[in-house]
Amino acid sequence: MTQEMIDHINSNPKYQRLVRERSAFAWKLSIVMLVVYFAFILTIAFDPSLLGTEMGSGVTTVGIPVGIAIIFIAFILTGLYVRRANGEFDALSRDVKAELERELAKEAK
């Protein structure tokens, strides 16, 4: 990659937007996952009986739906990321590449 290409891409507003928004989105989702997981595991470390509380009159405890919910949350978060990254972000990325090629072609003339 030449310095010229680097400068072109770095100054492209779409590239800046792509990097900014995708990073923000990725970190946001990562933090959600980390908070959910560590809240769960630290609850177990500090107060395991909380998850052992029975729901209603049955034997099923709060921990069961909470645990299953975390599995679903993990799956849903990946789905959210893939949808936006493969749609919106990839479109931006394609634009950046196309614009780069146009600019380089123009300069080559």
Binding site: Y37, V59, K97, L100
Partner: protein, 549 residues
């Protein structure tokens, strides 16, 4: 029997993509239906290997199946790598024994995946070619970084392989009634055949087929259990609480994760360790682009999460339908073959001899698929990182590199067979935990910072990564599992079972310190090269593309 459980208590990480069955096991009578189904599987996979061999012509084919695997296929294969025999039998066995605690581990193994997707997958795909060392050494010095990465890869893979080979020998002894050595040699030879001739393409398809079989079998078992209880979880749990020796304790956390330091350390080991496993990272180079790489994690997370829910149901089903049936118990009232056999016995309880044979064959297939992936990752580190890029400084023709990787595969297979036999009677419970600790403390920090941190230099990566590696090894040796359980000392020097919190911190701090204090001209050039690397990692411009077949 008690030894069979050492692993479950001592080393949850072992449950993951690998693990082992500990202690002496009794050889069982030959199980004909299992052997017939297993032979069908072997025949089919050798057929695939033959097909794949004809399509494996270049190094790219060999290492990455030509980059032509789809996101869905790769997701299945990743899930296959994760759903090892130890994971299937170990987690369902843990649920059988402890109830809710099994779910806690499953969740720990799963939550690393979203993070791999958000932070690692697409950058890895955009920057790498065959191994994660390609990415780590992208703008750093090839020789030291690749040597470190290859060393981390080979250590991780070898520890895993030993655990896997020993576990497979014992499992096959129980399931098929074959002698231990025969089982280990058989696994070794088949895996050498798959990998040497079929490369990544055969390895991937073996993994996909096995994942499909395992998911189908587990689904059938879970449905059979639920049907027994009118599809009511409350009815299943109520009956389990009634018959389980600890009664309602199985419905709440049972103290396997007791203090906050262990909890956080375990979490870090599982997340960062997963993101530092060479055979998992290598899977991201088998797809054509970042888009497919992302899709593969989405599918993998779905399959793995679904699988863990199934194992939870299977474990509870076994409490009710296996533990209450004297047919599956020995004279002392314990499960024949140990608690890890809960799922196997349940397959007989819900589907008779035929289904027992099916599940046994699937368990064997699972071992074969996982060891093949491990061997390929290890062989790639030897041929691509050490031979082609360190020893020959990148001046090597492709056919020669591929020959070396095939030789490395055969060598790794033979070494795995010997180690598998040598370690038959050893306590290997620490091995997968150590593999995880090394992956989390040496492979992951270097890989992650190389992609995210501009100021990383070769000096920082090499010193920090080595410090992380050394700390992980040292703390595992001084910890309760090796120092007390294996070496027989009264008290552990290092009190925690999971060193990751400390060793990962050492690695990150070491890399940071020795990078920012690196004022060499080379270090400056490496910082400047980040810009170009970052653009490629963000957009895929210049990335390794797919090759059509």
């Amino acid at each position: 029997m008690k030894q069979l459980l050492v692993l479950l208590f001592a080393l949850p990480a072992a449950l993951m993509a690998s693990g082992a069955i500990e202690g002496a096991v009794e050889k069982q009578p030959l199980n004909i239906s299992a052997i017939v189904m297993f032979l069908v599987f072997v025949g089919a996979t050798l057929g695939i290997t033959y097909w794949a061999a004809k399509r494996t012509k270049t190094a790219k084919d060999f290492y990455t199946a030509g980059g032509g695997i789809t996101g869905f296929q790769n997701g299945m294969a990743i899930a296959g790598d994760y759903m090892s025999a130890a994971s299937f039998l170990g987690i369902s066995g843990l649920v059988y024994l402890k109830g809710y605690d099994g779910l806690i581990y499953s969740i720990g193994f799963l939550v690393g995946w979203p993070l791999i997707l958000f932070l690692v997958a697409e950058r890895l795909r955009n920057l790498g070619k065959y191994t994660f060392a390609d990415v780590a050494s992208f703008r750093l010095k090839q020789t030291p970084i690749r040597t470190l990465a290859a060393f981390g890869s080979i250590a991780t893979v070898t520890l895993y392989l030993i655990a896997q080979m020993v576990g497979s020998g014992k499992l096959i002894q129980i399931l098929f009634g074959l002698p231990y050595e025969v089982a280990v040699i058989l696994v070794g030879i088949l895996m050498i055949l798959y990998v040497t001739f079929g490369g990544m393409l055969a390895t991937t398809w073996v993994q996909i087929i096995k994942a499909g079989l395992l998911l189908s079998g587990a689904t059938f078992m879970a449905i059979a259990v639920m049907a027994h209880f009118g599809f009511s979880f409350e009815a299943l749990f109520a009956k389990a609480v009634e018959v389980h020796p600890t009664h309602d304790a199985i419905m709440s956390p049972g103290g396997l994760v007791s203090d906050p330091v262990s909890a956080i350390s375990l979490g870090i080991a599982l997340m960062f360790g997963t993101a530092g496993l060479p055979h998992i990272l290598m899977r991201f180079f088998t797809v054509s682009d970042a888009k497919e790489a992302r899709k593969s994690v989405f599918f993998a997370t779905g399959f793995i999460g679904y699988f863990y829910i199934l194992t939870f149901i299977i474990g509870f089903g076994a409490i009710v339908m296996v533990a209450t049936n004297p047919h599956y118990l020995d004279a002392a009232g314990a499960l024949i073959g140990g608690n890890n056999m809960a799922a196997i016995h349940l397959s007989h309880a819900v589907g008779g001899n035929f289904f027992l044979g099916f599940i046994s064959a699937v368990a064997f297939a699972t071992i074969l698929a996982v060891v093949s992936g491990l061997t390929l990752a290890g062989a790639s580190a030897i041929s691509h990182d050490l031979y082609a890029n360190v020893f020959r400084r990148g001046q090597v023709d492709e056919m020669q590199e591929m020959r070396i990787s095939k030789m490395a595969t055969v060598a790794m297979g033979i070494v795995a067979i010997f180690l598998g036999i040598a370690f038959e009677k050893q306590n290997i419970a620490f091995m997968v935990g150590l593999a995880f600790a090394i992956a989390a403390s040496a492979n992951f920090p270097v890989l992650f910072l190389s992609m995210y941190w501009k100021k990383l230099t070769t000096r920082g990566a090499v010193i920090g990564g080595s410090l992380g590696l050394a700390t992980a090894v040292l703390l595992v040796i001084l910890g309760p599992i090796v120092w007390v359980d294996i070496l027989g000392n009264a008290e552990a020097v290092f009190p925690y079972k999971y060193p990751a919190l400390f060793s990962v911190a050492v690695a990150f701090i070491g890399i940071w310190f020795f990078s920012v204090t690196d004022s060499s001209a080379d270090g400056e050039a490496e910082r400047e090269a980040f810009e170009a690397q970052n653009i490629r990692s963000q957009t895929g411009i210049g990335a390794e593309g797919a090759v059509s077949h």
